[in-house]
């Protein structure tokens, strides 16, 4: 193979990739944080005594888990605006789709976590006169949050990768910038390899922390 590697154009164009990285992070962290908050609410709704809360929450979770993320992204950019009559920017559409998608997965983590708490814990709290809300806040959630951390970290890692799909909406994130550079300079090998490495460097620390966290939790219990 007589390929001449040429990284000089990366040296010149790295600000483009950095800007892309910044947009990736701007998509990733807010949609994770919002998805977590929304997911907590949805997870609690899934377990609510009232069917009027539990059923719609279940439907929501299933819709987002059983359709491809790619169609969700495209739907929120091209289809959703027709429904609501407001055009969203590609970034906003992507942020919305990723947040809602993440919230569905987080809801399942929350539901599973809460259901893993022995029934006696609810009863112990109830027997002391605590309301459902007090029992959840003081007794149940503090026990589950720790147990759910590894699952949430995994979700975060997954989400970081999924942000790359936003490139199909021309959100100028890392993947988009990489493809742009690669087709401008016809240097896919150098450029796409670099993009992959940047993703790796971004995501690996989270993955490493998650593994350590899991080991520490396992050791404690």
């Amino acid at each position: 193979m007589e390929y001449e590697w040429d990284f000089s154009l990366l040296a010149q164009n790295y600000p483009v990739l950095l800007r892309g990285l910044l947009v990736t992070v701007e998509l990733w962290l807010p949609s994770m944080a919002l998805g977590l908050a929304l997911g907590l609410g949805l997870g609690l709704a899934r377990l609510a005594g009232s069917r009027w809360l539990a059923r719609p929450a279940l439907l929501y979770v299933e819709l987002f888990r059983d359709t491809p993320v790619l169609i969700q992204l495209i739907w929120f950019f091209y289809a959703f605006p027709i429904l609501v009559g407001v055009q969203l920017s590609p970034f906003t559409a992507a942020l919305l789709a990723l947040t809602l998608n993440t919230s569905a997965y987080c809801a399942e983590i929350v539901r599973g976590g809460i259901q893993s708490v022995p029934k006696g814990q609810f009863e112990g709290a109830k027997a002391l006169g605590m309301s459902r809300h007090q029992a959840m806040r003081r007794i149940i959630l503090p026990q589950v949050v720790r147990r759910m951390l590894p699952a949430f970290t995994n979700r975060g890692i997954e989400l970081a990768k999924v942000t790359s799909l936003a490139s199909v909406l021309s959100v100028h994130e890392l993947m988009y910038q990489g493809r742009l550079l690669s087709s401008t300079y016809y240097r896919p090998l150098e450029i796409l390899t670099t993009v992959a490495i940047v993703y790796f460097v971004l995501i690996y620390p989270g993955s490493f922390l998650s593994a350590r966290l899991e080991r520490r939790l396992a050791a404690r219990s």
Binding site: G120, Q121, E123, G124, A125, K126, A127, L128, G129, M130, S131, R132, Q134, R138, I139, P142, Q143
Partner: protein, 264 residues
């Protein structure tokens, strides 16, 4: 028997025609029970007789299917037009503050130390200031002989110690009635005594209590009244001496015989 029993007047707890079904299975089939202040009722019976369900209905861990429960002369729940009784959560929370429960499996909160377990409901439910709640919790722990274990997590305590913390936790709420649901059934035999001694101490203070137990000897010495439950009904009721020493019913006799089969 739907007529109120004569002893109903002045009862702290008054249960009338209580029914409880799980699906098609009717576990309680019409229970009438009046508990006077200071009375100690031991509920005995075979497995599946409904004794735990009866106890759990009294603080609404299970919601009765039919019948009324009155606490200190006031009927609980709201009767609808169709005769069904609804129990709003707020009312049940208030009832549970007055009717404490100790479970077979202790149900201590594993993420809290012994003293935090005891003070938790004082703070969240009663709104007692933390410092005051801690002092009260420490006093209750001292009372069950666990003052020095106050900062231990439940996982560091023996079963008997955990159950004593659970008793302290119930006592801290100043309940008018205490319910014990087989409090020693999940303990190793050598740990049963320390828990029974604490319960006997409470009996000597004149506290009103209901106790589901397999410890018939303990029931004999501590209870003022024994009820034998079979198929979701009271089969025989009386003083410990009547029911445990001189049972009249055939089923009571065979139950007691099975229990003493391997006695010395």
């Amino acid at each position: 028997m739907t007529n109120p029993l004569p002893e109903t007047r002045g009862a702290l707890l008054d249960v009338q025609d209580l029914h409880k079904s799980f699906g098609p299975h009717e576990v309680l089939r019409g229970i009438d029970l009046a508990v006077m202040p200071g009375e100690r009722v031991a509920i005995i019976g075979g497995s599946g007789s409904g004794k735990s369900t009866l106890l759990r209905c009294l603080n609404f861990m299970e919601v009765p299917t039919r019948g009324r429960i009155a606490l200190d002369g006031r009927a609980l729940g709201r009767t609808g037009r169709d005769g069904t009784v609804a129990y709003p959560e707020g009312e049940l929370c208030r009832v549970r503050r007055r009717v404490g429960m100790v479970f077979q499996q202790f149900n201590l909160f594993p993420h809290m130390t012994a003293v935090e377990n005891v003070m938790e409901a004082l703070v969240t439910v009663k709104g007692t200031p933390r410092r005051e709640a801690r002092a009260r919790a420490e006093a209750e722990l001292a009372k069950v002989g666990l003052a020095e274990k106050r900062d231990a997590y439940p996982s560091r305590l023996s079963g008997g110690q955990q159950q004593r913390v659970a008793i302290a936790r119930a006592l801290a709420m100043d309940p008018e009635i205490l319910l014990f649901d087989e409090p020693t059934s999940s303990l190793d035999p050598e740990l049963v005594g320390e828990v029974l001694r604490v319960i006997r101490g409470l009996a000597e203070e004149g506290r009103t209590m209901l106790l589901v137990t397999h410890e018939l000897g303990f029931a004999y010495h501590v209870a003022t009244k024994v009820v034998f439950l079979a198929d979701g009904r009271f089969y025989e009721t009386g003083t410990p001496d009547e029911v445990l020493k001189h049972p009249r019913g055939e089923r009571t006799r065979s139950f007691l015989a099975r229990h003493s089969e391997f006695a010395f």
